[in-house]
């Protein structure tokens, strides 16, 4: 693993996979390209997206004449009255060129025509900023287990507007059997949503196709690596998603790692022993996987075109919190339809609590997850306040029914904010509900767990 400061910006995992000699060379080059991507991310974090100390208001005013200031793929330099917006592919050219060259080499020797085209298109996008073309080529890749991504993607590190993208990358092997299993889960969950009027969700993306890829991961780098994501959907542009659907990638290796190093140790530390003995490690891992599936499926239902611009820097907080609560809310459909049993749903709720605590513990080392932490604090504080969770030397028996009730209530509020709420309403909601001190109730039980993973 590679790090700068306390941050892990490259993670590698052992994956056993039989490949032809040529594919081995392709994968090796892709891995090298992903490794180099960490350098771009490191540079972004050191330089920042905007001039140091500049205010949001000044940038907003300047963007009227120079709209690129607010573009996801431009960095801003200069001083007030003389801001300059430089496209990423020019600003980071020195670091991007060797990555693009590695991809070019991989593309040249790749024998799968669709993968070849994708690799070469992605190489070009790093040189000229044609990211959408690369995403389109990615969606057309067929007949291969090899998957990868390199580019500017998540906006969490832009603390001013939640727009500027941080570089990241991964290489993985698609597990077709598990992808099919998750696809069934998705279809069961979306089957009623697709028929319904848009009461609590938008069906635009599921109708175009939510494509599932569960992957054994060889390497991750950049933001995705730093915060140890277990899954992400690509791309983020709502217009693209509405036209082409989405690609949800599950980073199984990162989930396994997070489970072993954090989720399970937290489970062992905070729950009453008599209660904890009801849930096996195997069941909890399955629940962790389902939890992240429900979270990602839920995000697909709540991508409203205007949300990001309306809620601006608060979008991440609302979106993250909603992903978790709406995900579990949808989980009940799976119970009543007989796809999962109630013990698994209980385990999913337990994992939901563990996940919140794990992210809080990691926050000390990965400040990029600030929006997650604020959103999560609103959820867990609600459980404490309403008596769904009680703490006395750790968490005693959770009241699952009560938790479910609170989840539904909160999901309604969050979906409203994403769909049509104003910035002011979101601001008030966050101010009223954020309670970072809630995490401290369990601090004593978590002292022995190292979250710098």
């Amino acid at each position: 693993m590679q790090s700068f400061g306390d941050k892990m910006i490259t993670r590698t995992f052992k994956v056993s996979k039989k490949l032809s000699l040529n594919n081995k060379r392709v994968v090796k080059l892709l891995e090298q390209a992903v490794l180099l991507t960490s350098k771009v991310y490191e540079d972004q974090m050191k330089r920042g997206f905007y001039p140091k100390g500049v205010s949001k208001e000044k940038l907003q005013a300047a963007s009227k004449n120079t709209p690129e200031i607010l573009s996801p793929y431009f960095i801003v330099t200069g001083k007030e009255n003389n801001f300059k917006a430089i496209p990423y592919h020019e600003a980071y050219e020195d670091l991007l060129t060797p990555i693009s060259e590695k991809l070019q080499q991989a593309g040249n020797i790749c024998t799968n025509a669709t993968l070849k085209k994708y690799i070469l298109t992605r190489a070009k996008a790093l040189r000229d900023g044609t990211y959408e073309e690369a995403d389109k080529a990615w969606f057309l890749v067929r007949n291969t287990d090899i998957d990868f991504y390199i580019g500017p993607f998540e906006p969490y590190q832009d603390k001013i507007f939640f727009k500027k993208r941080a570089y990241q990358g991964f290489v993985g092997f698609i597990d077709k059997i598990e992808s099919q299993e998750v696809d069934k889960l998705k279809n069961a969950l979306y089957s009623s949503a697709k028929m319904s009027s848009e009461k609590n969700h938008s069906t635009d993306i599921p109708k175009k196709g939510v494509h599932i890829f569960v992957e054994d991961i060889l390497i991750t780098s950049g933001y995705l690596s730093e915060v140890l994501f277990s899954a992400e959907f690509y791309p983020l542009e709502v217009d693209f998603l509405k036209e082409h659907g989405s690609r949800v990638v599950f980073y199984k290796s990162q989930l396994e790692y997070k489970f072993e190093k954090l989720l399970y140790p937290i489970f062992q530390s905070i729950f009453e022993k008599r209660f904890a003995s009801r849930y096996s490690k195997e069941l909890l891992f399955k629940a962790a996987f389902y939890n992240i599936c429900l979270y990602e499926f839920s995000l697909q239902l709540h991508q409203y075109g205007s949300g990001k611009n309306r809620l601006n820097d608060l979008y991440g907080i609302i979106d993250e919190a909603n992903g978790f609560v709406s995900g579990i809310q949808h989980g009940k459909d799976l119970v009543i339809k007989g796809l999962i049993d109630e013990v698994l749903l209980e385990a999913i709720i337990i994992i939901h609590i563990l996940w919140i605590l794990a992210d809080w513990m990691m926050y000390k080392y990965t400040k990029g997850k600030e929006s997650h932490i604020i959103g999560n604090s609103m959820i867990i504080d609600d459980y404490f306040a309403k008596g769904a969770l009680n703490v006395h030397n750790g968490i005693s028996w959770p009241n699952f029914y009560r938790i479910f009730f609170e989840i539904e209530d909160m999901a309604d509020d969050l979906v409203y904010l994403l769909k049509e709420g104003s910035y002011k309403q979101a601001e008030e909601f966050i101010k009223k509900n954020t309670a970072l001190e809630s995490f401290k109730k369990l601090e004593g039980n978590l002292k022995t767990i190292n979250a710098n993973i």
Partner: protein
């Protein structure tokens, strides 16, 4: 999540009581069993043999994967044999004025519409709109008439659901 090749399985209320299947479900189950006992068993045996030839079994992922698949195939064979032993065939259902196994129903739940067919558990596949008669939703709907509301209750989840139409 465990790899598996099982079809139409769900974890709800698996017991020794009778399993209801349509005549199509019965023939599908018989076909699957024959396939597993013949072609699939042969294929897995060949995979195991081939993997053995790669050498050292302790570092041989192909061998592990093949053995895992063999376990899954044998488990599924045992399961299908049990299902077929206890299966009760449901005759083709004429349109009824209340919900029975085999009915396709349109319901309203939580402000949203949904449509599915209620089948025996061996044929259940919620991703294809086939819900088991033993699932909380399926069992609550049996006997309900159009316009009637039923409550789907489990210790955690409570839903009210209205039957809009029986097809």
């Amino acid at each position: 999540m465990a790899k598996n090749t099982q079809k139409n399985l769900h974890p709800v209320r698996r017991g020794s009581k009778s399993v209801y299947v349509t005549s199509k479900g019965l023939s599908d189950a018989k076909l699957e069993l024959a396939l597993l006992k013949g072609q699939k068993r042969r294929e897995v045996a060949e995979r195991i043999q081939k993997a053995r030839e790669y050498g050292d079994l302790t570092e041989n992922s192909e061998y592990d994967a093949a053995m895992e698949e063999q376990t899954l195939v044998e488990n599924r064979i045992a399961e299908l044999e049990n299902i077929l032993k206890d299966a009760k065939v449901i005759q083709d259902v004429p349109k009824s004025d209340f919900v029975v196994i085999g009915s396709t129903v349109v319901i309203e739940m939580n402000g949203e519409e949904d449509e599915f067919t209620i089948v025996g558990r061996v044929e259940a596949d919620p991703s294809k709109k086939r819900i088991s008669n033993e699932s909380p939703l399926g069992s609550s709907l049996l006997g309900a008439k159009p316009g009637e509301s039923v409550e789907v209750t489990t210790p955690i989840v409570r839903y009210k659901c209205k039957v809009l139409e029986i097809k």
